[in-house]
């Protein structure tokens, strides 16, 4: 996360985003609701993009983000700054999205609930079969569509790990904190997510990715 210089009696010091967030959180804890508005403004888009990857639907993602912020606000007195505010917020967001999908009966199984082989050999959509076309048809738009489709069909834990890394830019350490799992699991999940997407790109690329070059 980035640092911003802050003047301090003529001596510039570096204050991290995490420090600034913590100061805002402390203000909220002392009754300053405006400080929470600032946190909402700062994180609403990032949280929305993350949640949208989990629930897919725009309106539902907005509902989940709103619920997440309200839950975070109500629980803020418990936040002690042991972790960064955003990792704490993302954890609430992911759990809220999971609960939402559970209540809708739409939860995508986790990778441990899904046979790994199944992930790599699942039935491809008709549109994907149809785009097994000459090299000239491999436009970036099709690749983008395939990546997004593959991403949406990933098991929940793989999708969350890759989203936190690629979309939110979190480190493995931070993702481990958000997902409450060992750092080695994070590394493995991100790798498996990428491999699953790469496998989905195979029909587009016309041959095995390994043999393509």
């Amino acid at each position: 996360m980035s640092c911003v210089p802050v003047a301090n009696m003529g001596n510039p010091i570096l204050t991290t985003e995490r420090d600034i967030d913590l100061q805002l959180v402390e203000r909220v804890q002392r009754g300053d609701k405006l400080a929470f508005d600032l946190l909402v403004s700062k994180y609403q888009r990032k949280l929305f993009r993350l949640v949208l990857r989990l629930v897919v639907n725009q309106t539902e993602a907005e509902d989940v983000v709103q619920e997440t912020f309200i839950k975070a606000y109500r629980a803020l007195h418990q936040f002690r700054g042991d972790s960064a505010f955003y990792t704490w917020l993302y954890r609430i967001g992911i759990n809220t999205a999971k609960n939402f999908l559970d209540n809708q009966g739409r939860r995508v199984p986790t990778s441990t609930e899904t046979n790994a082989e199944q992930i790599e050999t699942f039935e491809e959509g008709e549109n994907l079969r149809d785009i097994n076309t000459p090299e000239s048809m491999l436009a970036s738009k099709q690749i983008a569509e395939t990546v997004n489709m593959a991403m949406n069909e990933l098991p929940e834990d793989l999708r969350t790990a890759l989203s936190l890394r690629e979309i939110e830019g979190l480190s493995y350490d931070e993702i481990a904190e958000v997902m409450d799992c060992p750092i080695g699991t994070v590394r493995s999940r991100i790798f498996r997510a990428r491999e699953s997407i790469a496998e989905r790109l195979r029909p587009l690329l016309g041959t095995s990715i390994d043999k393509r070059w």
């Binding site: 804890q29 912020f69 007195h77 997004n148």
Partner: protein, 164 residues
């Protein structure tokens, strides 16, 4: 697991001692292709995410929901009281400095008594400020002058106690 190190390399998350083997592996064209593909996947996801925005009414709905929530107010009140307590402590120290000046012989016993009693008196005054509904009202509703008003009351209490 063949390309897990390549994936970690893309993320800048290789563990100690892994960089050499990862770079070595990248001499193979298929490993280089994997690296490019992982970057490409990242680019697509980021481009897609950049398009995703909450709707125009989202911020207003969020604000309405938050407005309905009560403030986390306990801490604020405590914070102001703490300020008053700190100022009282400062006053007590000033009083002690004053009393450290050479006193008249006849006042010596009384001065010593005051010095010993001051910290306790200041604490009692602070508690009085905290417990007093009028002072609490002033603390919660006034601006920076609040502390001065509270302090004036606390000072009065402290002085009265000293006189006694």
């Amino acid at each position: 697991m063949k390309y897990e190190k390549i994936s970690a390399l893309v993320d800048g998350e290789l563990e100690e001692g892994e960089l050499g083997p990862a770079v070595e592996a990248l001499r193979l064209p298929e490993a280089q292709a994997r690296l490019d593909l992982y970057y490409q996947i990242g680019d697509v996801l980021n481009a897609e995410a950049a398009k995703a925005e909450p709707g125009p009414e989202f911020a207003q709905r969020m604000r309405t929901l938050l407005d309905a929530e009560p403030p986390h107010s306990d801490g604020e009140a405590v914070s102001d009281v703490e300020k008053v307590q700190l100022q009282l402590q400062e006053m007590a120290l000033q009083q002690l400095e004053e009393s450290a000046k050479p006193p008249d012989e006849g006042d010596k016993k009384l001065q010593t008594l005051k010095q010993l009693a001051l910290p306790g008196i200041a604490a009692i005054a602070a508690v009085a400020v905290v417990m007093s509904p009028q002072f609490m009202f002033i603390i919660q509703t006034s601006a920076p002058t609040v502390s001065h008003a509270s302090l004036a009351g606390a000072t009065l209490i402290a002085q009265n106690l000293l006189v006694c």
